[in-house]
């Protein structure tokens, strides 16, 4: 693999990388200084973000600059506006934002300031996953430090730009990472996603215009502002620009978080970045972007890892959280575990999702325990088609249905064998295997 420029994780390895001193020494807060003192107009900031082609890193891959430009015109709509930063990283397999928040919190803070300036937001709310204690503490300490240095709060850097940053801890619900569920939770309510329309830019937090961005998307903003859109576009592929953080886990030799440009194949990533499949085994399948994206078989390992290519292969780039499964992995068991997650995390509002996620889990569980029937496979497909696409308020039902469809499509033979034999030939009895009728708490 040839060398490529890096920027996202450059500060992460430095000693005391989470402190203001280190951040400043590395040129931190220059972007916001530049924006405030030159001064830029908010429209210019949105312009450069749009030109950079940055696509949101939270899973959907929506252009970030475009999202910012959806905020209503301040002259016509005087309501206060907010930025909400989605740091509720809970997708199984995803672990990239955590690195940024723990090791480089000031980068996120500077990104928030630029985003708030561009959207004329009066405050940013960072919604951190409850289990991320260190992220929360580091970020809070960094905000306090920045506030003391006049970088957060009133009249930042002596200009008339004021912006506050507040933290909010989640309480362990995956659904609060859905943007409208996150807003409900921030408002102190149950994290039940809201129907759209209205979209957050029209009516979000406290019925005011709000933009919800992923941590990594916001983290990119200071780099784009300082180095320009052309620099950013010089990395990656034409429709997925810049670098991204890859979180790779599962059966590889070197799991972890890596900064990579778009355009590498999955094979390159597994073999050259993550040190290949462990124990000298062969690859069976991989989730390209977290457990909500469709499982791809080993035969598709040459797919190029960017938003559009993965989509063309029938899956999603998601949060670039690859989960690698070697030849000893049992797909029925993988799906049992995945389906259990969505059954547990469905908020329960929409009928299809509440009942469907449970039903899928029950079926996968029976198959994985050797109690399946051949008709179950068509039922799984039919139920998944009843749940997705876009038949519910949010995309959680899709997230449960899409991997189901992919698993049955690519690994039907494995399910059939389980059903025929009345047991899972790949089951490792020493692994924890919950009882079939064990009630989940």
């Amino acid at each position: 693999m040839k060398d490529f420029p890096k920027y996202l994780l450059n500060r992460v390895g430095l000693p005391q990388s989470h402190t203001l001193a280190t951040y400043r020494a590395e040129g931190g807060y220059r972007a916001i200084e530049d924006v405030l003192k030159k001064p830029w107009t908010p429209e210019q900031v949105i312009g450069v973000m749009k030109d950079s082609g940055l696509r949101g890193r939270g899973g959907a891959g929506f252009p970030t600059g475009m999202k910012w430009s959806f905020m209503p015109d301040i002259t016509k709509d005087p309501r206060p506006r907010y930025l909400a930063v989605n740091a509720d990283e809970s997708e199984p397999g995803t672990c990239k934002d955590r690195v940024l928040m723990e090791k480089d919190p000031h980068g996120l803070i500077e990104g928030c300031l630029i985003a708030c300036f561009a959207m004329r937001a009066k405050a940013a709310y960072i919604y951190v996953r409850g289990e991320y204690r260190l992220s929360y503490n580091r970020l809070q300490a960094a905000i306090d430090e920045a506030r003391a240095a006049g970088l957060v709060g009133k009249n930042i850097l002596g200009t008339d730009f004021s912006c506050d940053i507040w933290m909010h801890k989640g309480a362990g619900a995956y659904i609060c990472g859905e943007e409208t569920g996150l807003m409900e939770s921030l408002e102190g309510k149950r994290g039940h996603p809201r129907p759209k329309p209205p979209f957050p830019a029209g009516s979000g937090l406290w019925k005011s215009p709000t933009t919800v961005n992923n941590v990594e998307s916001i983290f990119n903003a200071p780099f784009i502002v300082r180095n320009g859109a052309e620099w950013f576009k010089s990395m990656g592929v034409p429709k997925s620009t810049g670098n991204f953080l890859l979180g790779i886990s599962g059966h590889v030799n070197k799991p972890g978080v890596y900064e990579l440009p778009f355009g590498l194949t999955a094979r390159q990533i597994i073999d050259e970045v993550a040190g290949g499949v462990w124990k000298g085994r062969k690859l069976k399948a991989f989730f390209p972007g977290g457990s909500s994206t469709g499982l791809l078989p080993a035969s598709m390992v040459d797919v190029v890892m960017d938003h559009d290519s993965v989509k063309a292969a029938g899956s999603m780039f998601g949060t670039a959280a690859m989960i690698i499964l070697d030849e000893t992995a049992s797909i029925p068991q993988v799906m049992d575990v995945t389906a259990r997650f969505y059954d547990h995390e469905s908020c329960g509002q929409c009928s299809q999702c509440r009942e469907g996620t449970q039903w899928l889990h029950q079926i996968f569980r029976r198959i994985a325990h050797g109690k399946g029937q051949m008709s179950d496979l068509d039922l799984l497909v039919s139920l998944s088609n009843g749940m997705a696409p876009a038949k519910t308020i949010c995309a959680l039902a899709d997230a449960a249905a899409i991997p189901t469809l992919a698993a049955v499509k690519h690994f039907r033979h494995e399910f059939e064998e389980c059903i025929r034999l009345g047991r899972d030939p790949l089951r490792n009895e020493s692994q924890h295997a919950p009882e079939l009728h064990e009630a989940h708490a």
Partner: protein, 493 residues
């Protein structure tokens, strides 16, 4: 108004209302569970999905009609295979854990889930998984009992308290398929509007403790009527088992008065409507079976015509009679009483009991006189029970007329009236009042037709929901007969 197309028909739709309202306004049936016109839409049950295209020829997609605003030129189809399939899928999920205990469910017969399953659902379930086992009879206070297994989590009940009474009492507890409805901190529900939950629950999850197991709803006849518990006069439906025994009072939509709601005081006011008759041959101990006159052995049943003659004679012999009607008197009865009062040269008056302290911000006015405004407009004077008793004590004779007039005056006070008073009464039931000379039976307000005028001037209609006991005639006819008889009786004294 916005022009849209529903099932090929050009119609006008209110742009402020969701698409589902436009469909319903046009008589197009779109099923709904979580949507209720009186509550904020949440779009969670997904049963109201219809096919929508932005304009003719544009690509269509399936959307939830309750959360879709109408837009100019929109093309809506509710009847396409795609729309039906989507709804059928949704229904299958809703039925996955539903206990299907319709044979023992109070809601059966008026259950939305049952109805739409019949219309759209498939005959055979595909689930072989065990159904959820939850609490079958969880008391939520004095009025409502919850069956968690039947609940489809539409959250109408939760929103009833947040949107209508403005005091949240219920919530969804738990996550996903473990969700259940519960009160906060397991406290029992409170307030005077709990009964509405049983009405708005689209399935048999929330049922009324009072109505539970009382009747199968397909045996109930439903008659449009008006509630008499306060001067709001909520529009109601009087539901009687086989058109004989009133079993349930339910609110009926009336945009100007009560919308979809009614209070529990009114809903549970069944006792005055289901009073048993007095024993055969007796006057006391139940509803009057016929006219009664005072004889040597107290009040005795008598022939109607003879009793009327006697009443007319007494009133003719003792000029200066007072005329006091019940606050339940209908406009028609009041008109007849007015004519009688003119014939007797009396001031028309009605008993006006004191406010009962049930007044709230929603519906209840606290004034127990359902036709106060109508009576006042016809020229009747309101009289507190104590003042009325004092006036009666001083009068030579009196006519008391209308449903529950004796009850509102107070049986204790009436019993103390001097026996020289010549007292003629028309009521559903009487006690042994020494001063009472002649008494005639009258129908209750669910046994007659008529009108009441509510506190804001809206006219409420009364209809015959159950027949009055045999031989009980309308009060207005009886008062007119008495006035006619009086005119034919020469004045004595």
């Amino acid at each position: 108004m916005t022009k849209i197309q529903i099932n090929g028909r050009e119609v006008e739709a209110d742009p402020k209302q969701p698409l589902i309202r436009a469909c319903h306004d046009q008589g197009v049936d779109v099923p709904m569970y979580c949507y209720h016109p009186g509550l904020a839409p949440v779009g969670s049950c997904r049963i109201c999905q219809v096919e929508v295209a932005a304009a003719p020829g544009q690509p269509s997609r399936v959307v939830a009609a309750c959360r879709t605003p109408v837009s100019e030129g929109m093309v809506v189809s509710t009847d396409t295979p795609k729309a039906h399939d989507t709804r059928r899928e949704c229904l299958e999920f809703l039925l996955k854990n539903h206990p299907l205990d319709c044979p023992i469910c109070d809601k059966a017969g008026e259950c939305d889930l049952q109805d739409y399953s019949f219309n759209e659902g498939q005959g055979k379930g595909r689930s072989s998984e065990p159904r959820r086992k939850l609490e079958k009879r969880k008391s939520l206070g004095d009025v409502i009992v919850l069956d968690e297994e039947r609940c489809i989590l539409c959250s109408r009940c939760v929103r009833f308290f947040t949107d209508v009474t403005k005091k949240a009492q219920l919530t969804v507890e738990g996550l996903g398929s473990r969700s259940v409805i519960n009160t906060y901190m397991d406290k029992p529900l409170e307030g005077n509007y709990q009964g509405n939950l049983a009405d708005i629950c689209p399935v048999g999850a929330l049922t009324s403790k009072k109505f539970r197991f009382q009747a199968r709803v397909w045996n109930l006849s439903k008659t449009l009527s008006t509630c008499g518990e306060c001067s709001r006069g909520c529009s109601i439906s009087v539901e009687a088992l086989r058109a004989k025994e009133v079993k349930r009072l339910r609110p009926r939509y009336n945009a100007a008065v009560n919308q979809w709601w009614m209070c529990d005081t009114g809903r549970h006011a069944l006792a005055p409507l289901t009073r048993p008759l007095a024993p055969e041959g007796a006057v006391l101990g139940g509803r009057l079976r016929g006219a009664a006159v005072r004889g040597y052995n107290g009040l005795e049943l008598a022939d109607d015509v003879a009793a009327l003659d006697l009443a007319a004679d007494m009133l003719a012999a003792h000029p200066g009679a007072a005329v006091i009607v019940s606050p339940f008197a209908t406009q028609e009865e009041a008109k007849a009483a007015l004519a009688l009062a003119q014939a007797l040269k009396a001031t028309p008056q009605f008993v006006s009991p004191a406010p009962n302290g049930l007044k709230d911000d929603l519906l209840h006015t606290g004034d127990p006189c359902p036709n106060r405004r109508g009576l006042v407009e016809q020229g009747f004077t309101a009289l507190e029970p104590a003042a009325a008793l004092a006036a009666l004590a001083a009068a030579p004779a009196a006519v008391l007329a209308g449903e529950r007039v004796l009850e509102f005056l107070g049986h204790e006070g009436l019993a103390k009236l001097p026996t020289k008073l010549r007292l003629v009464a028309f009521d559903v039931e009487t006690s042994d009042i020494p001063a009472l000379d002649v008494v005639f039976p009258v129908p209750t307000h669910v046994e007659k037709s008529g009108h009441w005028v509510n506190v804001d001037g809206h006219v409420g209609v009364l209809n015959v929901a159950v027949p009055p006991p045999s031989g009980v005639r309308r009060l207005d006819a009886q008062l007119a007969a008495l006035a006619a008889k009086l005119a034919a009786t020469p004045a004595r004294s």
